[in-house]
């Protein structure tokens, strides 16, 4: 028993409590000693959290389990907002349904702990979040491009005409969703014409990051197209046809003489196109690379020995000579890199050396053909995906199956424009196609 001692100096405000006989004996602990005789107290409440395994998407059938962590539980039910269209199925233990609206939803999960103490309330609640993604198709906006821009270009373009040799030419070009979403311009362009018994086609895809590439693609297609028209109409066209006929009569002979004539027509056209871009850049006091663009050129003439086709190709996209049931001949090699979107653009270095130009030239003589098709990567990416597929006849048969019915229509250009709206996830570039058939 400890006697209270009076405080020697101003001490506690209250007198110390008087110890009683019934007090437990004071415990003196040494380091390492374990206290005995203490009640353990009640354990802290178990913290259970729930996570929904999968996210949902508007309009898509959805099914997902719910993971509980922290303790073993039995889910009694899940409260889901009525308008969502999703419910908890106790039999499968999953959320299922087709969500009607997108957003993040807080769901209340009713549950009980499996090892619940009978004395404790059986039903507990916790919240978890259900994420319903929007449908990307519905998020794409269509915003007009700036009509007052000095280099304004129409979002859509099309041309259809009767060509040489009783064949027809059509080209359709449309601004892609990614540009429409931000109200910028169509960077693709094309050229289509017939002259002196020849058919002439060109497509170009302006570089995405180049400020004036819509003007670049327009300049190169027009200038190269005009240059080709002139060339096929004068002795260069004649020399090409003669050299090709001689070679076709003896296909084992060297095609070099033919290549030289192709050079004078298509190589010269590429050169003229580059010069035209440089002139524009100088006039407007802009760097040339702001006009960066790809360029694909194609010419065709029917000769007594067969069909003569030649091409010049820089960049991605494709130009191919399609013979249904027989083969597909790519008239060049697409420029691509390790990563998506990497390609080459028409530049001065490319047209400054004969060898560099020659590398991108190609010709072919065939008894007959189904179609000569040019396209920008806005079409080759979704429809062919890889360079290997681009050379695969089966893929082309499928592709032809898609567009041939459109070409049989009275207004194939318009039908193709409609077709250019096709949906392909992740592929929203400008789309341009030109066909000779």
């Amino acid at each position: 028993m400890v006697n209270p001692t009076a405080p020697a100096s101003p001490g506690p405000e209250k007198a110390p409590r008087v110890p009683q006989a019934t007090d437990p004996a004071p415990v003196v602990l040494c380091p390492g000693a374990i206290p005995v005789g203490h009640s353990p107290g009640t354990p802290p409440p178990v913290k259970v959290s729930f996570v929904i395994e999968k996210n949902a998407k508007v309009g898509e059938a959805y099914r997902s389990g719910i993971q509980a962590s922290g303790s073993r539980v039995e889910i009694l039910g899940v409260a889901v907002p009525d308008e969502l269209g999703v419910a908890y199925d106790p039999v499968s233990g999953q959320l299922q349904g087709t969500p009607a609206i997108h957003g993040d939803y807080v769901l209340t999960v009713g549950y009980r702990l499996i090892e619940a103490d009978p004395g404790r309330p059986p039903a507990l609640e916790a919240e978890c979040t259900l994420i319903v993604n929007p449908d990307p198709r519905k998020l794409w906006q269509e915003n007009p491009s700036d009509r007052n821009d000095p280099d304004w270009k129409a979002d859509v373009d099309m041309k259809y005409l009767q060509g040489a040799d009783g064949r027809r030419l059509v080209a359709s070009s449309k601004r892609g969703r990614s540009h429409a979403h931000v109200g910028s311009f169509r960077d693709d362009d094309f050229f289509l014409d017939t002259a002196s018994g020849w058919n002439i086609l060109a497509v170009a895809d302006g570089a995405g990051s180049a400020k004036n590439s819509r003007r670049g693609s327009q300049i190169v297609t027009r200038r190269a197209g005009d240059s080709l028209k002139l060339a096929v109409g004068d002795e260069r066209g004649r020399k090409f046809a003669e050299a090709a006929a001689r070679w076709a009569a003896e296909p084992s002979s060297s095609p070099h003489a033919v290549h030289l004539t192709v050079y004078d027509i298509l190589g010269a056209a590429a050169f003229d196109a580059m010069k035209a871009v440089e002139d524009e850049a100088k006039a407007k006091e802009n760097p040339v690379k702001e006009y960066a663009t790809t360029l694909i050129l194609g010419v065709h003439k029917k000769l007594p020995c067969g069909h003569l086709v030649a091409a010049y190709w820089v960049g991605d996209g494709a130009i191919a000579l399609y013979r249904r049931g027989l083969d597909i001949e790519l008239l060049g090699v697409p420029d691509s890199g390790e990563f998506a979107g990497q390609t080459r653009f028409l530049d001065r270095a490319m047209v400054s050396s004969g060898d560099e130009i020659m590398k991108r030239l190609c010709f072919s003589v065939v008894p007959d053909f189904t179609a000569l098709v040019l396209m920008t990567d806005g079409i080759s990416d979704p429809k062919f995906e890889t360079d290997r597929n681009l050379a695969d006849l089966g893929r082309w048969d499928t592709f032809w199956g898609e567009i041939e019915p459109l070409l049989r229509d009275d207004t194939p250009g318009d039908r193709l424009l409609d077709w250019l709206d096709f949906w392909s996830q992740g592929n929203h570039d400008d789309r341009t196609i030109a066909v000779l058939w």
């Binding site: 993604n133 998506a340 990497q342």
Partner: protein
């Protein structure tokens, strides 16, 4: 049908100094960023996100995951930790080599990946950090953006890795919120100009996010 992916890597500092309000603000900001990206159609279709944290160890919070499947977990900070940014870059390189798809004749490649790094200090493992810098550069990221968050962050180390360094005056929630909004806009911008020859452009940052020249 396979789809062209835009891989986006985010490295977050979880060293001791981030404990409390800073990491809470990061969590809120990241959640808001993911939500904002989900409203952008291009991002929703193409972005694949991966998050790595770094303190005394570098940890992959989740590997490249399609944006629509991302559920951002609560990032926590251990009691006290250094800032092993070098280890984070090392882990990043392994991930990129494992996961980013290079284009071949047979397979279409990913868009050039984007990298965003946030730190409130300086690398504690400086030697490893410097060894990893050329490795990161060799991986051909479309853009590498480093953020020096708060007064103690050292911009000069981040400048060794990339020219694109931004700084935040504080690590409070309002500032982080603006930073992550800008990251979200940059990613969306990156996905829409992802075909570009030189995708170094980024949208203009808000006032809280200062570009370090």
């Amino acid at each position: 049908m396979s789809n062209r992916r835009l891989p986006v890597y985010i490295l977050l500092d979880t060293s001791g100094s981030m404990r409390g309000e800073p990491i809470h603000s990061v969590n809120v900001g990241m959640q808001a960023m993911v939500n904002a990206l989900r409203q952008d159609p291009y991002a929703l279709e193409s972005v694949h996100l991966s998050v790595i944290t770094f303190d005394v160890e570098a940890k992959e919070i989740f590997p490249l995951t399609p944006l629509e499947q991302v559920r951002f977990p609560e990032i926590t900070v251990p009691e006290a930790g250094p800032t092993f940014l070098g280890a984070a870059l090392e882990l990043l390189i392994r991930q990129v080599d494992r996961d980013v798809i290079r284009g071949t004749a047979d397979q279409k490649g990913d868009w050039r990946p984007l990298l965003f790094i946030m730190t409130d200090g300086s690398p504690s493992d400086l030697q490893l950090y410097r060894t990893m810098i050329p490795e990161v550069k060799r991986r051909n990221f479309g853009n590498v953006v480093s953020c020096a968050a708060g007064p103690k962050a050292k911009q000069e180390y981040l400048k060794e890795l990339t020219d694109t360094v931004v700084s935040l005056d504080t690590t409070d929630s309002a500032t982080f919120s603006q930073f992550f909004k800008w990251v979200s806009a940059s990613v969306a911008f990156g996905s829409s100009s992802a075909g570009a020859a030189s995708p170094k452009q980024l949208p203009p940052p808000p006032p809280e996010v200062q570009v370090v020249v």
